[in-house]
Each structure stands twice: as C-alpha cells, then as structure tokens.
C-alpha cells in the first residue's frame, strides 16, 4: 500500500501541568509518530521522555483491545475474550442485583486522571455513578490538600502566569522537581535567570532540578511548614514586609506576626536541619528581590502538616507585596483560570439525600473489612486509575482485590497491576483514538485533541463507555446520550470573558488557544488584591477554617456534604511528621530511615511503567541512600535490597549518593508491582493516613528500614 502520511493536531492526555500540543502523524490509519507542536508558545515543540514514543503505547502488542472475562483465580491474568454485549449484560446484571439486595452504595467507582481531557478525564463517570447512587469516590490523589489550604488563603485563583516567570527576580521552586514533572516551564525560569534571577530549590533530595539551581535547600522531609513560618518570622523581625499591601489587601497580619514570633531561625533550623543563616537569607531574598515568586509543587502536601505548610507558604507573597508586579506571587494550580462547565459533566443534582463518601486512599481498608462499612463494597469499577500501583498499603489492596465476592470491572489500555484482578476488563482508547478538549494546570492555554485514528479493536473512549453503561442500566436522562461533539459544546462556559475569541473551530484548527487574559508581560492578577476568598483579601487568618477540614467538591463528584470537618487552626502553624525519629523514636528504632516517594522521570505515575522504552530509561525500581546510611547497613551500590516497615516490603536496587540527606531514602513511585522483583513496589510501605487538610496523603512521612536481600 502506498504511504499516505497525514498529520493531526492533538494534545497530550497525561496528568502533567504542561498539557503539550502535539502533532500526530499517521500512515494509512496507523499512528507512526508524535512530536511537539512548535507553534504552542509554552510547550514550544518539545514533548518528553514519557510521551515521545506515544505511538508505541498506541500500537503496543500488549494493548487490551477487546472486552475480557476472568477465567482463572483473581490476579492470575487469565482472561477470555467476550463481546461488548456480554460484558455490559454481566456488569449491569450484577450491579442491578447488588443495588437491589445491598443498595447501590455497595458499588464504588475508582478513578482519577489516567487521561486528563475534560470529556474523558476526572469527571467522566460522575453523572453515571451519581445517578446510580454508588458510593461517592473522594479523589484526593493530587493537590487536594494544597487546594484546600490555598483556597482558604487566596481563593481559587490561577495565581501567577507561568510565562510571567521571565520577569521574576527570585524564583523558589518549593518541593517541585520541575525538570521531571513540569519541564516545559523550565525555559521561562532559565530566561529569568539570564536576566539576573536567582533560582532556589527546596527539596530533601538534590534532584536534577536542584542540581541546576543557584541554591539548593536540603530541608528535612515534612518540615516545610516550619521553614515557611521561619521565613515569615524574619519578614516581620527585619521589617521586610510591604505594609501598604498588607493594610489594603490582607486580613490577619497582626495575628500572623504574633504566631510567627516563636519560629525563630534557631528553632526552625533545628526542625528543618537547615542553618539559621540560610533561613534568614531566603527570607531576605524573597522580600528584597522583587518580583519574587514561589512555585508550589504537589509534594509539599504529602506530609502530616502539608495543609498548614501550604497555608504558610501562600501567605508569603502577600506579606512582601510580590503580587504587585507580573512574575510576582504564587503559582500552584492555574487550572482555576479555565471556565470549565463542570456541572454539565458531574451532575451533582443526581446525588441522593444521604450518599456515602469514601476516600480513595482508604481502598485497602474498605475492601478488606478493616473499615466498618454497611453495606460493604461488593463491586468496584476502576477507570483512569491504577490503585495497585499508586495507592497506599498495596498489600492490603491486593488482599481486597483478591476477594472472590468482589465484582471488579476495570477499563484500561493494558493489563495493569489492578486490571489483573478484574472480573471484567474493558478496552479503552488512547488519546489518538478519541476527541477531547483539555484544561491545563501548568499554563493558560486551552488545548484541543483532534481524534487521529479510529478506535483500535473494540476499544471505546470513556465517554462511550459511560454512554453504553447508562443505556444498559436504563438511564434515560438526555445527558447520558450526548455525543462527544455535544459534550465539547457544553464543556466550557463559552460566554466567560476568558473565552472571548475562542471557538471550537479555532481550537480544532490550531490545537490550542491562550485564555483571553492580559499578556504574561502585563498580567498581575492580584496587584490590587481581588483574591477569591470570602473577604476578597489574602486571608492570613482564614475565615473558611471555621467550618473545619474539607475537600473541594470537584474532587468528590460535586458533593459538598459530609465533609470531615476536623478543626483547623485559622492561623498557619507547624505540624510535625508522625513518623520521624523526633516524634516517634520507638518506631524509628526499628525503622530508622525516612522514605520519600517522588515521581519517576520516565513514567507519569504508573502510566508507561510497562513500556520497554520508558523502562529502559527508568531502570529497575531504585532506592537512593546516603553513603553513610549505606555503610551503616552494609549496602553497596547496585545490590538488591529490601525496604520494609510494618505495612509491607518491596525490593529495590540500591543507589548510593550524597544527593540525598543522611537518614532519608528516595524511592520513586510508578514502577509496576507485577514487573518488579518480589511483586511489590513503593506503596507497599506507604500509609493511608491523611495529612491535615483536604485528604492529602502522607507519602513523605513514612519510616522504613533497608536491608540486603
């Protein structure tokens, strides 16, 4: 057949802040390559090690292309092909029976952002499961705790335009390995540096980003809140605050000053294991090198006091008036700039009067009877997620998924660690086989993904999956039969001012459009306050704290009821780690090393963890130790070790370097348990314990021991 190469403009679907515009090449209906779209001003024609060979994901011989039914024991990976009709009939028969005998809340959806499109991503199953009356899935995988804290302080604002960083004079990357998880932002940081900016990286690990920084701040894990309060202490002590900005646009400065009194450089130095001089230097740098900016990474929430740490950090730019100029302030989640019509997808109006809410970190407990649930979970549907690889207490999840009486449905591209345990596996399309419109949580461009090829085999998009399920369940609300085209037409609040000039036709043609906001050279959204808080000001003392702890409705299928409501101190304070030699010496006597679990450079969470190219780049599951710790436990570089605590164990290859602090070990998450020696990975040892706010996890607050295998 003659070669017929055509290109289509798509958008990367991965849960990454960069949401690259990408050009998909196909030849006679087969995707042969992807590359970055050079016209997109933020992503500038580069993709990354995760996505450069996306065609290998699409065309992988391991793709699931047909519905399958389990034929062997749970977890055995033994399946037979069945028809879609049989799959739908079996699923809906089981669900109708469960709903009739136990109640529909015995069914639990489990999903996150395996694909990030507005149609096929976060909320794609919400209307269906809200209608069904299933247990509401509280999805606090990523940034939920930080969002709660950030929202309480400055509101759901986009914050600093990432492109405005070229104007920043002092850039603090706080718990962000930008070159691995947000790499298209780096050129803007580098440009600022060419213009004289300093780049500071706060991270217990000398990551590839920290290695390129002007200053690396190797903080003790779980102590970021103390550092932020120590900085605030210095700002007040040394007269570095912007009194005019504070008086006009903030509330609670006096109370915050009083609270910060105790956080002296000496006290904070002892907690963070940083020198008092460095803490003073950071405070003076942030205050006097204006505009200064702080980029908060997701990792900062993953500690017992993660919420209050984000609260304290979020106060700093207003204290020194950084918000006055473009490139000054805070960047956390510019997602809030996008006027997405979430309600059209979530349909919170379908939620009954007394739904049950279950947080996704608790899956292991929920499935194994360790949590009192009436009715118990009898069916689980997993899509856009792989909890066996990415949720805590892996051993307990495996035990739960092994229950013969649990009816598990998984929609996937591959037979993941989770899909292996399914009763029914459904084939999902990759991004090139589906149409979607994409927000970003790392820049201000709306993106469009034109479908490049027809679905492979019998794969269906998530939108089609839920259309089929809804029809089979007899749900007749018109929202369940909307085509993708109709959903795209309803995806945005097209009349919102940010959308002026943006049409679907333009998006389809160009693949992206910058929201209608001032240019990055002029955009200073909070130069005159205008914070999205109840007071309209930056709330050092948070009025929203009065209602206690909460998770944003977006992360819980649109449901705002039954919030956990634990008391929250309206002023920022330091909450110490629960698993540290200081706070838990008895535990540390047995498990002396603090584990942190950053993102893998070659994987996106567990996506790509099975593909040969990315596995070659990532190597086997590593654990990184300081030379002193390695010597202490008789471990040499390159040998296989066992990392363990009371929750479980996994095997890893030891890497020995002084890039990590003594007493801390690093094991990136995302490797597949089924592909790792010993059949377990990092989340075998992590805890389902929450951080202080928003249901965030505590993956940086874990003690382990490491020994030779």
């Amino acid at each position: 057949m003659a070669s017929q190469i055509e290109t289509v403009i798509g958008a990367c679907p991965q849960d990454c802040p960069d949401t690259c515009s990408m050009i998909v090449s196909k030849d006679n209906g087969k995707v042969i390559s992807v590359r970055g779209n050079p016209d997109q001003p933020f992503t500038k024609g580069r993709l990354c090690v995760k996505v450069n060979n996306y065609q290998d994901r699409v065309n992988s011989p391991d793709r699931i292309l047909y519905p399958m039914r389990r034929t062997g024991p749970k977890g055995s990976s033994l399946f037979e092909r069945i028809s879609w009709q049989d799959a739908l009939e079996e699923i809906t028969t089981r669900w109708k029976d469960i709903a009739a005998t136990s109640g529909p809340n015995a069914i639990l959806p489990y999903s996150y952002l395996g694909t990030q499109g507005i149609l096929n991503g976060l909320t794609v199953g919400d209307a269906f499961f809200n209608k069904l009356g299933a247990t509401i899935s509280e999805r606090t995988f990523c940034d939920s705790g930080a969002c709660t804290a950030y929202t309480m302080t400055i509101g759901d604002t986009a914050g600093v335009d990432p492109e405005s960083f070229v104007h920043s004079r002092y850039i603090v990357l706080w718990a962000s390995n930008t070159l691995t998880t947000n790499s298209h932002h780096w050129p803007f940081i580098e440009e600022a540096r060419k213009r004289g900016a300093k780049v500071i990286v706060i991270d217990p690990y000398r990551s590839r980003t920290a290695r390129l920084a002007d200053v690396h701040v190797p903080i003790a894990p779980g102590t970021d809140g103390a550092l932020a309060l120590g900085i605030i202490h210095i700002l007040f002590r040394d007269g570095l605050t912007d009194a005019d900005y504070i008086s006009r646009y903030t509330v609670g400065a006096d109370e915050l000053a009083e609270r910060a009194m105790e956080y002296t450089p000496e006290m904070v130095g002892a907690i963070t294991d940083l020198s008092p001089e460095l803490i003073v230097k950071l405070a003076h740098g942030i205050a006097t090198s204006q505009p200064s900016v702080i980029r908060i990474g997701v990792a900062v929430e993953r500690q017992s006091g993660g919420g209050q740490a984000v609260r304290a950090i979020s106060c700093i730019p207003a204290l020194v008036g950084s918000w006055r100029r473009p490139g000054g302030g805070l960047l956390q989640l510019p997602l809030w700039a996008f006027p997405v019509s979430w309600g059209a997808f979530i349909r919170p109006d379908f939620i009954g009067s007394a739904p049950r809410v279950l947080n996704q970190w608790k899956l292991g407990e929920a499935l194994t009877g360790d949590m009192a649930l009436d009715p118990p979970i009898r069916s689980l549907m997993v899509y856009n997620a792989n909890p066996m690889a990415m949720a805590p207490e892996q051993g307990r999840i495996a035990q739960g998924l092994s229950r013969e009486d649990l009816f598990t449905v998984v929609s996937e591209h591959f037979l993941t660690d989770t899909a292996r345990y399914a009763d029914i596996v459904l084939p999902a399309t990759t991004q090139v086989e589906q149409e979607d419109i994409m927000f970003s949580w790392g820049h201000l461009y709306l993106s469009y993904n034109n479908r490049a090829i027809d679905p492979m085999g019998e794969a269906v998009s998530n939108t089609e999956l839920f259309r089929r399920l809804a029809k089979a369940m007899g749900f007749d609300d018109p929202c369940f039969s909307r085509t993708d085209e109709e959903q795209i037409a309803e995806a945005m609040l097209w009349d919102a001012p940010q959308m002026a000039g943006i049409t679907i036709e333009r998006l389809k043609r160009d693949g992206f459009a910058r929201l209608n906001l001032p240019s990055a050279d002029d955009y200073a959204p909070h130069a005159q306050g205008n914070f999205a808080t109840p007071s309209g000001k930056c709330e050092f003392k948070a009025s929203m704290a009065a209602e206690g702890n909460f998770v944003l409705g977006l992360f819980r299928q649109g449901y705002d009821g039954q919030q956990s409501g634990e008391p929250i101190d309206p002023l920022p304070h330091f909450i110490a780690p629960q698993e540290s030699p200081v706070t838990n010496p008895a535990l540390a006597a047995r498990y002396p090393l603090n584990l942190i679990t950053p993102k893998n450079h070659a994987f996106l969470s567990s996506s790509f963890g099975n593909l040969p190219h990315q596995r070659r780049h990532a190597g086997d599951q590593p654990v990184v130790l300081h030379p002193t710790d390695a010597a202490k436990y008789g471990i040499t570089a390159g040998e296989r070790v066992r990392v363990h605590n009371d929750r479980g164990a996994f095997e890893a290859i030891a890497q020995v370097t002084d890039d990590i602090r003594q007493g801390v070990v690093v094991a990136p998450a995302g490797h597949w348990a089924s592909l790792n020696s010993g059949g377990a990975t990092v989340h075998a040892v992590t805890s389902s314990r929450y951080a202080d706010m928003g249901g965030a996890p505590t993956f940086s607050d874990i003690l382990v021991a490491v020994e030779r295998c």
């Binding site: 580069r46 990354c48 090690v49 290695r211 450079h601 780049h617």
Partner: protein
C-alpha cells in the same frame, strides 16, 4: 540515561540543538558538540533540530555507535558548556552533502 551526539556531527557542528535544548546540556570543542548525560532530560527536542541526524537516544544506538555514550560523557565533563548557537563549521554543507542529507 541520555541522548548522545554521534559522528555525523563531526566537522559540521550546526548547533541548532543548542537553541532548542531546555537545560543547556551541550558542550563543545573544535569539531563537534557533546551532551552532558547528567543534565540531559531525555526530551529529544534536539533530535529533530539536528540537520544531519547526529543525535539519538542512547538506547536506540546501533552497536557501532555505542562508544559515543562514553565519549559524550567524558568530553562533556571536560569541555565548556555551550550557551548559544555558533556558526556552523566551514565544511558543514560539504559534510551534509557527503552524508547524503
């Protein structure tokens, strides 16, 4: 883990790779450029930018080019970092033609 500059760059050295590299991981001598494997983020941006196809993923190299991994590592460590593009070497066009490109 990194991308690697191989022999096609020799006596060509167009350095368009440097213009697209987000982390400035190229180092230079009189004949060609080299990638610092400790700084490279494997983004592959340079691969398409190179007019002579000199750059590839270390895992894609043919056996006869594997020695370039170590050459890049050693030379990058010993040479200055290149922070902007340079004029191509005088023989670049001839070199390109000789490579059939």
């Amino acid at each position: 883990m990194a991308y690697v500059v191989t022999d096609n760059c020799v006596e060509c050295r167009v350095t368009q790779c440097v213009a697209v590299c987000p982390v400035q991981c190229f180092h230079v001598d009189e004949t060609m450029v080299y990638i610092d494997p400790h700084t490279c983020i494997d983004c592959a941006g340079c691969v398409d930018a190179c007019p002579v196809g000199a750059i590839d993923d270390e895992f894609n190299l043919s056996d006869d080019k594997l020695h370039w991994i170590e050459i890049n590592r050693e030379r990058a460590a010993a040479l200055p970092r290149l922070t902007g593009t340079m004029e191509p070497l005088p023989g670049a066009e001839a070199r390109k033609a000789a490579l059939g490109l």
